[in-house]
């Protein structure tokens, strides 16, 4: 188990996520908005590439490619002096952490990748064993937010009391590297605790709370019916629990729930009273961020206007 005291607040490389950038850019700006106000020492580096996650988990990339791209990103992080890779996307988090473990423990792979770097004249990317520590150099942005939850509470401008929220903790945050989760991986509470600090009432226990979002990388694209059935199962459970706001920590899950909720409503003839946000968007909102210029709610599929009006934000 990871200890909350060990979560750093400096030298964080805020690892850009492709799906955040293309679908929910407000997640990145909201995270920066909070980080700036909590005095967190971080940087964003445009030299950092995609983690390969989408290609890796659609079976397109081989493990060697993924590890080599990761080694390059580690070199970028170290070179700019911000070696604590902090991800907005749970898949980036898992891919980087696993790649780091492979690079440290699998000499054959490490040497092969280094020989590739040398062959291509990329000496500056060479990865030495233990250059990065899989347990202490990799974080999800939510972990940083949770470690500063008291400050978020202090700086809260809007209080969301009475709002029933539910968390969807991303599978690739707590099921891949389950030994490094803040709290018991069978019952993660990170988002709930931040949501509570914003005044909301988290529904900490609901049926199927550990069920995946249903995106399943290739599944949404190749087996849409099953994919949406999985998504619907959780939405149904949350509807029964009377949840108004579902909070996310991964853009892939957010696409699945926010973008596809209207599709499910249409195709299955159901109706949900639920809106979606990333927890960073929610916390930023609570700290007074502009819903459109910071949180970027105009990119959402389930309109948030009703929710924002009800809470007197717009």
């Amino acid at each position: 188990m990871k200890a909350i005291e060990d979560v750093p607040d400096n030298q964080l490389l805020l690892f850009k996520s492709c799906m955040v950038g293309q679908e929910y850019p407000g997640v990145e700006t909201s995270t920066c908005y909070i980080f700036d106000r909590l005095g967190i020492d971080y940087c964003i580096n445009d030299e950092q590439s995609c983690c390969t996650g989408i290609g890796h988990y659609t079976d397109v990339f081989e493990g060697l490619t993924t590890a080599a791209i990761a080694a390059r990103n580690f070199a970028v992080a170290k070179r700019c002096g911000y070696p604590n890779i902090t991800c907005l996307c749970s898949t980036c988090y898992a891919v980087n952490k696993e790649a780091c473990e492979t690079l440290n423990t699998n000499t054959e792979v490490r040497e092969k990748i280094n020989s590739i770097f040398l062959e291509k004249g990329l000496e500056n990317l060479v990865y030495e064993k233990d250059d990065m520590n899989p347990r202490t150099n990799f974080y999800h942005a939510v972990e940083i937010l949770l470690s500063k939850v008291d400050k978020i509470r202090e700086q809260k401008k809007f209080d969301f009391s009475g709002i029933k929220t539910a968390s969807h903790h991303a599978c690739h945050y707590y099921k891949v590297k389950y030994l490094d989760v803040l709290g018991n991986p069978e019952n993660p509470q990170l988002i709930d605790n931040i949501s509570a600090a914003c005044g909301a009432e988290p529904v900490r226990w609901y049926e199927d709370r550990t069920l995946t979002c249903g995106m399943g990388f290739s599944q949404l694209h190749l087996n849409k019916d099953t994919s949406l059935q999985v998504t619907k199962t959780k939405l149904d459970s949350l509807q029964r629990a009377g949840v108004e706001l579902m909070l996310h920590m991964c853009p892939n899950c957010q696409i699945q729930y926010d973008r596809y909720q209207p599709v499910i409503e249409r195709e299955f003839g159901v109706k949900y009273d639920m809106v979606h946000m990333n927890i960073a968007q929610f916390a930023a909102l609570s700290m007074g961020a502009d819903p459109y210029k910071v949180c970027g709610f105009q990119t959402h599929s389930v309109p948030l206007e009703g929710f924002l009006e009800k809470n007197g934000i717009i």
Binding site: M1, N184, P185, E186, N187, D208, T210
Partner: protein
Amino acid sequence: MNAALDKTAVFICHCSGNISERIDINSLKKTLKAEGIPVFDYEYLCSREGQTLIKNKILEGKLDRIVIGSCTPSKHGTLFKKCIQEAGLNRAMLEIANLREHCAWVHPDKAGATEKALSLIRGKLNRLENHKPLEEIKVNIVPQALVIGGGIAGITAAVNLADNGISTYLVEKESSIGGNMAKIGKVFSPDKLAEECAMCSLSPLMNEVVANPRITLLTWTEVERLSGSAGNFTVRLRKKSRYVHDNCTGCGRCSRVCPVLVENEFNCGYIDKKAISLRFSQSVPKIYCIDPDYCLQFKGETCGKCVEACKSGAIDFSQKEEIIELNVGAVIVATGFEEYDVSQKPQYGYGFFKNVITQMELARMLGINGPSKGILVKPSDFSLDPDAVSSTSTCSTERSLENSSEKGSGTPKRIVMIQCVGSRDEKEGGNRYCSRYCCMAALKHSNLIMKKYPGTEITICYVDLRALGFYENYYRAVQDIGVRFVRGRPAEIVEKPDKSLLVRLEDTLNQKITELPADLVILSAAMVPSKGTRKIASILNISQDESGFIKERHSKLRPVDSSLDGIFVCGTAQSPKDVTDTISQAGLAAIRGSAFIADSPKALVNEIPTINQLLCDQCTECLKCPFEAFSLNDSGKVIVDPLVCTGCGYCTELCQKGAIQISGFTKSQLKAEVEGVVKEGDLLGFVNSGIASITCDNIGNSALTYPSNVKLVKVPTNLVVDKDLLLHAFKCGASAVLFIEDPPDSPKVEVIYPLTISHFEKLKKELGDSGDRLYFKKAYVPNTRGLAGTFTSLAREGEMI
């Protein structure tokens, strides 16, 4: 050849290839014989034939000093010492070179291993030159025993000891003996296929404890400290205050008038007990006890209702706790288990879903002295609202039951039991072992429920059903009565709005994902060592396994001996087991304890300080001994108490005159051994003879390796290593010296460890530049890999220099 050694011989054991396959014994023989030293080898020196060989050679050659090259002395040291004593030699005249754990098993390179073996033997030969016969120190064993823990294991052990004529103290931290067996209500019988009342078996035994004149029962008492040595332990006990004197008649008037309800640990946390209470109605001794955390009187309020009600004037708020010191020869640890905390598996919803309970909670529920008076209920329908309980009535439970039966939903109709919760589980927080009791507990409870509530649907979700031996008969009977078995490990439990549950699993035999509806789910929680077991292991400084159970010396040959002489273990403190096995093992522990006591007087380890009275100027520095082993006798001379002395060697550092030396580890002996052992470029390790030594041996047992230029010399602690000896080691060629010390995990080492640290720092300073070549390492038993790594990296560093 040195004249002192002209009657010395070397014996080398092949250990059936363990040694001979890795070390070239012929080459050893050739080298030593060329120097005029007789060498003999044999396939198994530890065998009867091997010992006869040693004895015959001693008698034939009139030998007076022996070196044996074999496995670690901690394995057969005692055996070989006895062997040479039988041939008429003093036991000090034997040295054992550890050719197996320290050589053959850790150095795959045969040439290197052979060279090192030779140096180890040379070290021992050198040492023998300076040996003088040691006088045997014998002490009488105190003919009394202490049993810690008053559950079925401790009770059985105490009664057996007493029956063997040994005066026994039975210590229990709760206010009554009985332990977990008193909680479980029923025990099953595999031959009668019936469930018997556990209390009916236990109660007579508990009464025998009180009735037996050789047993002194101390309840509400905890062990604080153990000192002394095997055969003569001093135990410090804290007898907490009950605030009720022994003249209590157990009438219960006090409890009936007490206005404060408290959580009842005995009933798994139900709030059905008063601030003055018995642990359970058949408590032994039947003396009430006040919980000062809840009693109004102790919260500064005036109440005193119990004092008014008590007719014998037994209640006394000013009663003080007592410290008791006992002298005992042997100790039996029977501190038991507790249930695994199933809330660590949130997928089963324990703590969130009211109708998910553990087998122990079910046992309490089915017990007629339990919270629901033996009636099977759904916890969601059953509450003990403190406000609803009138201060004089005891029928509160019945009332809430009436309420629930009015709703008509009180009795669960569908019950699902989940096996292996926290057992056979490699995940964080789980236990890898099988807990042994849970399959039978589930079968027992199913049978009980089916007999009392026919028509109940019970499903047991299992992975492997373990009904060993005759228990299979009982399993078949439970199958016959209609209990359903589903093979699969449930993934999770879902709670429906009406508080009923769904258990989601794959029935792996029909390969279907199934959702079993249930009104009540029972988790068969793993058995883990109780907090008391963990605490006692640390107070007594005995080894535990990785799960915290107390480790036996040898699983087959010494199943109830702890790692320390004179301390025995039985029951679930040693490993998960059921009542039957616990009772068998407790009987054995009692026999081992009484045999140990009967073997009086006992020869003590002679590795303790000797004082050269000619050099001693009575400066009394040695009286700073942290164990207070030194004193001045009537004639003003310094003497040492062999029973108190731990042999740590701190006194050798304190004594400026050099008048104190540790027998077997004198300066000249250590110097001689170092001279024989060390070659140019070696890493020399001084190993504490306790935990550190076991860890070094374990490197060999774990099939790990390190370079053969690492040489280890055993010392009581590093406190006997002085600057002079270190300089000597460097002169002999040592590239570096490593101190390997026991970790401060026990009261004894907690005292010694800081002394070794400051001793190390002092030496480092005194050595000046050479101080950089002195290292220190704490050796934890499980960390064999780490220690082997340290050896390797330091040895490699040395090679580079």
